[in-house]
Symmetry: none
Subunit: 208 residues, 4 copies
């Protein structure tokens, strides 16, 4: 029956429009990540996606709006994960472990977006349209710095720690991983997180 086809996949009816959009954004993200936002031409994205440059403008307002959608989508999912961790009431060490693990998971799922974020966010945060990048960065700092400080106060982390400096080192190292991480490689995100945490928490030197 003709109705059978329509009722067969009712769940798929809900998100019908984003289908193409999402594919195009994925392509765009890949190219942005590989060549940098400025150096990426709209034509390059279109080529990669198999249509003409002008046709992209049926789906998106501008090159910038593609970037915007890529970054805001990523940050949305990132904060969903982070907020869950922060709401779990874990101790400082466990919170750091969970945040690091969550971060590498995000890199695994949104590698191009993370790479773009890493390279361009400082540049973009100034523009009004990307104000949410600055907001996110502030929340980010609050979450990490707060946890580190709590750890020092609780006697879990070394008392001589310069937390601000430590925060910067940890933050950068985690995200910069997006520049070399390849999904499906030797290590999954959890394995990488474990190695990284082992280094940061316990050091690479052999203990006396």
């Amino acid at each position: 029956m003709s109705t059978a086809k329509k009722t067969a996949k009712p769940a798929a009816v809900t998100p019908p429009p984003p289908a193409r959009r999402r594919a195009l954004l994925a392509t765009a993200a890949e190219v942005f990540a590989a060549h940098g936002y400025d150096a990426t031409t709209v034509r390059r994205i279109a080529d990669e996606a198999g249509l003409l440059a002008g046709s992209l403008y049926y789906h998106f307002d501008s090159k910038e709006s593609m970037l915007d959608e890529i970054l805001s989508t990523f940050l949305g999912e990132l904060w969903a994960g982070y907020d869950a961790v922060l709401a779990a009431g874990l101790g400082p060490r466990e919170t750091i472990e969970a945040l690091v693990t969550e971060s590498f998971r995000e890199i695994d799922r949104h590698r191009p977006a993370v790479a773009i974020y890493q390279k361009e966010s400082q540049q973009l945060a100034g523009r009004p349209r990307f104000g949410y990048l600055a907001d996110s960065q502030q929340k980010f700092e609050k979450a990490w710095l707060g946890t580190l400080e709590r750890g020092v106060a609780d006697g879990v982390f070394r008392p001589d720690l310069d937390v601000r400096l430590t925060y910067r080192f940890v933050r950068d190292t985690v995200w910069v991983a997006a520049s070399w991480y390849r999904p499906g490689g030797h290590h999954g995100p959890e394995e990488i997180a474990r190695q990284y945490l082992s280094m940061v928490l316990d050091g690479i030197a052999v203990r006396d």
Copy 2:
């Protein structure tokens, strides 16, 4: 006679005063670092330097040649320092300490160049003109990876270390510091190096 000056140092006739060149390159590096190479217009550099865009071409062949000169100068000095460290015959731990300290010193002296290197090198390494970037990266990897491996073999570093992964983390953390480091701030390069080494070598967690 006017010829006296010229014949006195015949070799110096071609590149008259490197003073201006250096100043212009410093300006260019600052702008490249702040906005990214692609996003930087020649006019912007010229504005910042107080002349017109076209006038820059009296001093340099092209925008790319400015970038080239900035990066190769930086890498030249970097390797002078690194080679000295590597030739000193230190133990693995001391070598790592010396390399990290040397790196932060370079960041202190060449912050814009390092920032540019960090952001653009992956992109540039492919082009023939910037082949030395890839070479440098290889030497770099060899130095660091070798030292880490030697440390593990010597029982100085933990035996369960994934040296490749560790190398990446360490490398990135060091260089990424160029994006937030401000010369003349709270900590000098040596202090930052010490903090960083303390974290990487001994971990941030309190020992039992």
Copy 3:
């Protein structure tokens, strides 16, 4: 049966309901008049009409053909009115009065078309498709100029009149009214015509 309807009026099958066409043209005319032909996008018209840009092409061949239909329809009705006046055998003054009155009536009924005509006709008259605009302008000139000349010859209009100049002034003032006239406002078209004729025929100065 469904076929009954179709076979009932075979002649009407091709151009089914001019109702929709007319409504779409009215919308198009409004937008053309408000923003100018070139500055009007097909999408804007479609938006205003409540369908998608592509869908307009089911009804019309092109944007230009909409313009064409709007203008030719208008001119058709205009000349029906003018020809009736000119065939009535009135005296020069009465002819002028009737033409002016008829013109303001047309503005009342076809304001957008008149506004378009006013703004674009000089531009369009050159293109072959719109040759009828030039023809119309010639007929127009002949009718007005002829009447003015007749009036001077008959001693009804002042003998020192530069008829060509007068023609231009009168012609422009009448049609330019389309840019500010709003149907349903204070004055109806006949009232405006009366005021205008009073000014042009007798002047605004008080007679001695």
Copy 4:
């Protein structure tokens, strides 16, 4: 002597930069007036001026800024003339005569600008950048309407005049002349003004 050349034309030293600018603006104005602002391509202007489209951007920020400069320059000169007339303390009839004459003089000197103003000002007045167009229009209305009202009050103009309507007719007729006026033709601006004033003030009909 070399100094002779420099001191020969000291007066020309003052306005050295606008030389090329003004010529380019004149060309642009001509093209805008002939084809309409929207329908005019930057390339067309460049072709007409004998350089490449991109080169225009050395002199102007944008197509819009050319339009802006054309219109604001014109309005500046127009109001210099109008203000002088209004400040002269003439009677209503003489003021109208002087304003009309001044207007035709402006058309004579700025024909393209007037034509552009006539065609595009209503469209542009809404945009913030061209707010001065709306301001000008208000001043304009105040000047003309006020004079007409004063004339009626003084018994110089007919008491049954609808001044608002009269204002519109007079205003349009004057400016619309820019669409057909050709400098250097049969009539100079003063002659046209005289003819026009004769029509408007005394009417075209023969007095009884």
